[in-house]
Amino acid sequence: MLEIRDLTCGYDSKFLLKDINFRIDTGELVGIIGPNGSGKTTFLRAVTGVIKPIEGEVLLEGKNIWQVALKEIAKKIAVVLQNPPISHMTVEEFVLLGRIPHYQKFQFLETKRDLEIAKRSMSLTDILKLKDRFMSEISGGERQLACIARALTQEPKLLLLDEPTAHLDITHQVGILDLIKRLNKEFALTVIMVLHDLNLASEYCQHLVLINEGRIYKIGLPEEVLNYQVIEDVYKTIVVVEKNPISSRPYVLLVSEEERQNKGKR
């Protein structure tokens, strides 16, 4: 599906990502984790062609994305960014923007099919009841769902999400990740998502990619990546890794400085 070979890229002359090698097959759900400023978002931007690689290449279904027309990429990759901008339009209008890459030349109005696809993605994300509300009137969680609905309306094969759970309460965090998991399972949608929350990443992703200082530190199953030595090394924080009693996936616990000192004294 997507392959990245020896990728080095960055803004201006600063190299933010170095020697990235990565591949994801159809139907996989991969989480990208790493400290702030380690290059997670840059990684997504390199995949979508926002920044040009200095070295190496990004292959989408075997073709270098810099040689594929932008419209063709947009039909295959959809992106949900952090902090979606709020504009004065209804949820339905917003979701329909996802059809833009599919419009024919000189097509002026949405076809029946366009409307049906938009409706389907709104019902998948459970925001159909909000379709006539304005984007500025709905809550943060609903806005995030609308963004996902818009991405689905592009009918992508690969969905990229940049911290889909940021600033959301646990209901919405779990709701959105359950939805992504369902889309991944039922429609074989390939998903790459950047996550800050290590426990959510562990719970929902098949594979994890840990990025540190612009390099891939470790790729593997959650059990392999989330062990306390790796995390303490990358995040410079003392943690305890336990097993979630229900899913038996690793669970990262933090300890406050006071407790750490108390333990040292004892």
């Binding site: 931007r45 979508t48 062609g49 926002v50 027309a69 932008l70 419209k71 063709e72 990429i73 947009a74 039909k75 990759i77 959809a78 992106v79 960014l81 979606p84 901008p85 504009s87 004065h88 339009m89 209008e93 923007l97 996802g98 833009i100 890459p101 419009y103 002026f108 109005l109 949405e110 029946k112 409307l115 009137e137 592009q154």
Partner: protein
């Protein structure tokens, strides 16, 4: 879907009706008042009468120019506001008007308008506008990427520099030149030359048609540049072409009619409140509204204190500003009720 198209057609019809109504009002009103009936009579009678020449040599050219310039400025406003995602941007923010005004000032103070033909004023205006466009454009482009925020700041700064230079010129110019400069800067739709009027109509209608090639791109831009890219829009090419289009529309308007403020800022806003943010309707609706608004303002400008004529910019400012504040306060009430 159906509902949306019906709504769009409804708005276009309403705006078109207002447009036609304003044209008739503008034909009738003036120092020589004429009823519609009388106008028909005058037309049937044909050339030769005083009324005929008032209608076709004085009022009609102004109406046509008002249509072209009002439309062009509003269209440029919609395009720029859409592209910058900033509701405070207007065609003049980019320094285009400043450049044009500087060109015209230089022309007047050097006495070129007397030695050369009357054409030299718009030509100098256009040259000044063009130079500023090139300057702003080349200063904001870095490694093939047009920096939108840079464009805005550079434009504002160049505006300031141009207006300071104009003040300098005014400070050292003779009284009769000063009058010419001030008159030009205040803007007027009086244009005796039919060729220039036709040219302006051509530019503005072609501008409207061209802008429709970008209606989806502008819709995608409302999500931000990066999101637009993710929707498959070639953002660099689109930004460049839209900037050139908006600049051309503004440059031509300013060099022919001088600085008529507020149309390009207020009309797009006003229309957006009523028809929504979809550029498929917004472009055409703003064009029509801008044309109507400017014709109306010009008619008021030449009839309010007969026999004197006010600068049309004064009317667009007062009328546009107060209408806009009114609409904004109403809209907030509406939103509050929801």
């Amino acid at each position: 879907m159906e509902k949306k198209v019906i709504r769009w057609v409804f708005w276009i019809l309403v705006l078109y009706g207002l447009f036609l109504g304003t044209i008739f009002f503008s034909l009738c009103a003036g120092s020589v008042g004429m009823s519609l009936k009388k106008i028909l009579g005058v037309i049937l009678e044909g050339k030769g009468t005083v009324e005929y020449s008032i209608l076709f040599d004085i009022r009609l050219p102004r109406i046509i120019l008002g249509f072209a310039i009002g439309g062009a400025l509003s269209l440029a406003g919609v395009i720029l506001q859409g592209m910058f995602r900033n509701p405070l941007v207007e065609p003049y923010t980019l320094g285009i008007s400043g450049g044009a005004a500087l060109g015209v000032c230089l022309n007047i103070i050097l006495g070129l308008n007397r030695t050369l033909s009357v054409f030299s004023l718009p030509i100098f205006g256009f040259l000044g506008a063009g130079l500023v466009i090139l300057l702003v454009y080349s200063l904001s482009i870095r490694r093939g990427i047009l920096k939108i925020q840079g464009l805005l700041l550079t434009g504002v700064m160049i505006s300031f520099i141009a207006s300071s230079l104009i003040m300098l010129i005014m400070a050292i110019s003779r009284a009769e030149d000063l009058h010419g400069i001030i008159f030009w800067i205040m803007g007027s739709l009086e244009e005796p030359n039919w060729l220039l009027i036709k040219l302006m109509v051509l530019v503005s209608v072609l501008g409207l048609l061209t802008s429709y090639l970008f209606c989806f791109d502008l819709n995608a831009f409302s999500l931000g540049e990066e999101e637009a890219l993710h929707l498959g829009i070639n953002i660099e090419r689109t930004k460049r072409l839209l900037f050139i289009l908006a600049s051309l529309l503004t440059g031509c308007s300013v060099s022919i009619a001088g600085i008529i403020g507020f149309v390009g800022l207020v009309v797009p806003h006003f229309v957006r409140i009523f028809v929504g943010g979809d550029h498929r309707i917004l472009l055409a609706a703003s064009f029509l509204t801008g044309a109507t608004f400017l014709i109306l303002c010009d008619t008021l400008a030449r009839t309010v204190i007969l026999p004197l004529e006010l600068p049309v910019g004064v009317i667009t400012g007062i009328l546009g500003g107060s209408l806009f504040v009114y609409a904004l306060s109403k809209k907030q009430v509406l939103l509050g009720e929801k």
